[in-house]
Amino acid sequence: MRPLNEAQFSFPSHSVNESFARAAVTAFLAHLDPTVADLTELKTAVSEAVTNAIVHGYRDAIGTVYISVKLYENGKAVVRIRDKGCGIPDVSQAMEPLYTTGGEDRAGLGFSVMQSFCDGLRVTSRVGVGTTVTLTKYFAPRA
């Protein structure tokens, strides 16, 4: 299915770009007139995935984070966050609540947040190649 509208952008994995990335995605979807709650949920999920690319994917170096947002019929939004970083050896273990390989004050809740704040979450990863996180969320038209 072809998207009705789409946007792509990329940026170096400086942590200062976390706020830009989540704001850009939510700005792109603003014309759907989403509820604040729905938009905040997606914004939070995007923030988690982008932070993971920066903190874990590119833990030893600065690399490029790629984001695409696609909008389909019926208010279906698909956001893809991709890095060419270290990759995840065991994705299902990584997605368990509270699992973390550490870092300053990491809570191990990123994937739990993505899961509960979105309607769909897909993670594909290869060690040494990188990680792609795909978030799907439906923004129901307001009555």
């Binding site: 923030s47 300053e104 809570a107 990123g110």
Partner: protein, 105 residues
């Protein structure tokens, strides 16, 4: 400044300003920990009244302070949580580890 600190009668209040993510949490953590390690307050009040957004880095910030205050049996209290921030706290299941003062009004 992203944190405003006030200390009175053994209670340290840290009023946080702005969005909390992995990037901004660092400065907040350093400011709170600096004061906490000097004063060893028996209670830390984290005031989220001026925090419009936080991701799980905010939970990490809270849990890290619970750990630090545990060294001298201090307690952490959250206040001023908006509904969306409260949703994060609930999802993290940390209601048992910290006290939550509900926002007035």
């Amino acid at each position: 400044m992203s944190v405003q600190l006030a200390y009175q009668n053994g209670v340290l209040t840290a009023r946080l300003f702005g969005e909390i993510d992995h990037h901004t949490a660092r400065e907040m953590r350093e400011a709170v920990d600096d004061a906490a390690q000097k004063l060893k307050p028996y209670r830390l009040r984290l005031d989220f009244s001026d925090v419009p957004f936080m991701d799980s880095s905010g939970i990490g910030l809270i849990l890290g302070r619970v750990r630090l205050f545990g060294f001298w049996k201090g307690q952490v209290v959250l206040c001023g949580l908006s509904p969306s921030l409260y949703k994060m706290v609930e999802l993290a299941g940390i209601d048992g580890l910290v006290a939550v003062e509900r926002r007035a009004g």
